[in-house]
Each structure stands twice: as structure tokens, then as C-alpha cells.
Symmetry: D2
Subunit: 148 residues, 4 copies
């Protein structure tokens, strides 16, 4: 059961992400939000692929970008005006994403007052089997004012 | 003046990138190709922004992904069947991309037989002034077979 | 029980690492080798610290460098002349390493013919308790000839 | 000519680095400090090499770690108690460091109030010729209190 205070966080995050034009264009969705964790996924369609029919690396990077930032965002004190801002990330592609769907799972490894360190794993679901297609490590800045 | 052999490379890259569904969806374009170098850009529109009206980090990552891979691709022997594959990259965001356009310039720092190291800088053009909004470092694998 | 073939790998790795002047200077040791995995550790002494009395970030990077490369090396076919070469890595520091000892655990996430992706976690042992002080993601090139 | 205020910064940095046990063990030295820039170097000797006679990757990482942090430190307000702390970095090795000396040049790409982004290039000097052997991108946290 989700605590009442996390319901507030959950709603605030979904509202913020819902305002991202790029999230809509790509067509990704939030599958799960929990303290320190975010899962996002995207179904295969031609518009998100590269020339060989795999999910485009840039699409995978977008999921990593959004999911790691949102995962860090689940732990900040939004009522006090804190917010999150992607500082940097690194991702390794481990296999072509040939599947029907990709799923990005992001988990906070180390929450901080000023920055949080988040890892992400992206799986390509082929015939129901998840296959690791990318791994990432991100630094998310925690901002105190309501700056972007 | 571009050499005849680079014209072949240029055409092959534009054809490959032209087949990327995601490139079309995002609406980015190739501004320049030269041996060891690629420049790509994207005009502002709501569909590529995040919730504060800046270019989405995932869009910037997509440009970095494509431009670094293409820059490495300008130096491989396509006639011999060599190809390029993004292995990994890291990017730092240095300022919000508030401009009318973002431009990603990628340059090969070290070409290799098996992998090339490429750097990229992304500029947000605000009222004609380029402002650095992201920097990246990428490793691009050179494949010998015609695999993707 | 370790298989006979891994005993050969184990001995070859320990011999190679034993020839590293820097490994001796730093005073690190190999705690564990297994297929796809390497653990290295280092005891606190003044020579490996920074100005505040924590293990130096460069010492932590050295452990990450060596342990990730060795972890990838446990899976290559040394009999066929294959070897490993550190291509790149990224590390995040998550807490000051104040402990009596640091331990770096490296695990291959994705072995490859041409490159392997390896993750590492570094723990600072304070009064027996391991505390995460760094995380890393590395790309290790697999070389076919006996080049360095 | 260096300004009087930078002389204070220069002295404070040299004092801090002079207290690093690991800096002494490795035997690196500061070649240059200027606002937004730091250069460090290290002469070849057996104790800093790996098994093939090249400078050890961990030594290169140590120079990157220290030089990027110090470069960011040249721009912080030490009089006000600000300090610097390495948050993360990524480095790519571009060639074996076979030379008599390695030199790491670090430059701040984007100074910030809370974090600065710094790039570094490491050159191996072979018979007087500098050859690029590593490139890096680092995030340095700016701390307000006198914490380490």
C-alpha cells in the first residue's frame, strides 16, 4: 500500500511528466513509481526505431534520462519546493533492442541533499523474455528553488 | 571541395539516417558531414520540449547518439563492409536549452580499427548566440561484417 | 570447487597483475577471482589517502580500473591469445571512504567477443560495516592478438 | 601576471594537494594553475606502470581525478568557505601511454554554483611529442560548508 504522502509525490510527478511534449511524441508511459524507483516503457512502432529495425539508441537514452530523473524525484521534498534536474548520465548498450517493448527500470543507489546517484537497466522484451539492452549511471541534481 | 570517395560516404550515411523512423519523428536534420565530423540540428517545437519549455534532455541525448555515431561512420571503410554501432556515451548538461534551435557538433578524437572515441558539444541558439548546453564523450564500435 | 580450466585463467591473471608496478606501489590485493567476477581490496594507510583522511578518489579509480578489466579477463580465451584492455569507465562517488579498508567488487554484465560491459561497486569498511562509496560502469576491449 | 587574489587560491590549492598522501606516493606534480585550469604531470618509473610497461590506467585516472577537481577549485570562493568534491568522471583511453612522461590538462567547461563541468586530456610525451592517451569529462561538486 502506498502511503498518503507518496500519493502526493506520485501525482506531482505524473503531472510534470504529462506536460513533456517529448514524452507524448515518443509515446512512453510510466509503469511504476515508488520511493527511489521508476519504471517506464515504450511499445515498438516504426517511429521509434533506427534503420535496422531496432529501438533507436536515442529512444533508449530518453527513457534513461526521464526514468533516472523521476526516480530521484520520488525522494525529494516537493512540498518544500525541491525539484530535480538531470546533471549527467552515461549509458552502455549491451544488445540490440529487437523486442516488442522496452522497459527502463531506474533505482536510486544513493540519495543526496544536493545530488542523487541513480542506476538504470533497460530490457528489450522479446516474446515475453526480458533481455538486457542497456545499463546506465546518472547524477541528478536536487534544486532547492523552483528553478527548472 | 569534397573528394569523390567522401561523396560516397556522405550519400551512404544520409541514406542510412534517412531510414531511421526516430530521426523523422524527432525532425532533426544533418547540417554537415565531413571526414571525422558530423553536425545535426533541431528546431524548437512543443513536441521536443520538457515541462519547463526547454529542449528535453532525451532529445539532446538523441542528437548526441546519432551525431557521434555518424561522425565515426565518416571514417570507416564502407566499401569493405565496415559499419558503426554506438557502444556507449556519457553526457553532461551544462545549461537549460532555451533556444530556438539546438545544434550538435561531433568530432572524432581518436579513430580506431575496432572502436573510435568521439566528442560532442551541443549548443542552444538563443537570439542567434550559441550557448553550450551539453557536452559528451562517446565510444563507437566499428563492426567488420554488415551487422547492424 | 574451481574447474581446472579456470585455475589456468586464475594463475594467468594473478601473474599479469603481479607484474604491475603500480599494483605493488598502491598495495592492493586480489581477494577473489571467479568467472565474470573480480574482487580487490586495499587497507588504509597514509599513502593512499587525500588531504581529509579519506581514501583518495584516484585510488578508488585504480581499483575500479583493475578490477573491471580483470573481471572481463576471467572470461576471455587466453589459450587462443585473447587479452583485455580497458577502453573506458565512468565512476560516481557516493560517500567519502573513511573506513579501514576499501573493497571493489566487479561483475561482468554483458560479456562480448569484442568488448565486455562490467559494473563495479566499491565499499568502505567502517567498523566491519560495508558502506557504498563508489559505483562504476566500464567497457573492456577484448583483443585477439597478444597486444597490450 | 597572476592577480593577488589568484595567488591566494594557488597557495591554498598547493597546500591542500601537498597534504595528499597519495599524491606523494604517486609522485605527480602540479605544472600549472590558472583560473579554470590545472595541469599535472608524472614522470615514468616502474612503480607507476602496468604489466606491459605502459603507464597504468589507474595512474591516468588519478591524474584526471586530481586535475579536474583542482581546475574546478581554482574558481570557487575559498574565502567564503567553499570547497570542491569530485562527484563523478568518465574517461576514455585512446592510446597506450608509452612515453617518458604523462601530462593531464584540465579545463573548466562550465563553472557552476553547485557543480562545475570539467574536461581533461592526458598526453603521453614520447621523444618530446605529446600523444593523446586519454580524455575525460568530470562533474565536480561545489560545497558551501568546509566539509571534505
Amino acid at each position: 500500500m502506498t502511503s498518503p504522502s507518496f500519493q502526493f509525490v506520485d501525482a506531482a510527478i505524473r503531472e510534470a511528466v504529462g506536460k513533456q511534449g517529448f514524452m507524448k511524441l515518443v509515446g512512453a508511459k510510466i509503469d511504476e513509481l515508488a520511493p527511489g524507483r521508476a519504471v517506464m516503457s515504450l511499445e515498438r512502432r516504426d517511429e521509434v526505431l533506427q534503420q535496422h529495425g531496432f529501438f533507436h539508441g536515442g529512444v533508449i537514452a530518453f527513457l534513461v534520462d526521464n526514468a533516472t530523473t523521476v526516480a530521484a524525484g520520488t525522494l525529494v521534498d516537493r512540498a518544500a519546493g525541491s525539484s530535480v534536474l538531470t546533471a549527467e548520465y552515461k549509458l552502455n548498450f549491451t544488445a540490440p533492442a529487437r523486442g516488442q517493448k522496452i522497459v527502463c527500470e531506474a533505482s536510486v543507489l544513493k540519495p543526496g541533499k544536493r545530488m542523487s546517484v541513480v542506476e538504470a537497466k533497460v530490457y528489450s522484451h522479446e516474446d515475453g523474455e526480458p533481455k538486457l539492452c542497456a545499463v546506465a549511471l546518472a547524477t541528478i541534481a536536487i534544486t532547492e528553488a523552483k528553478a527548472g
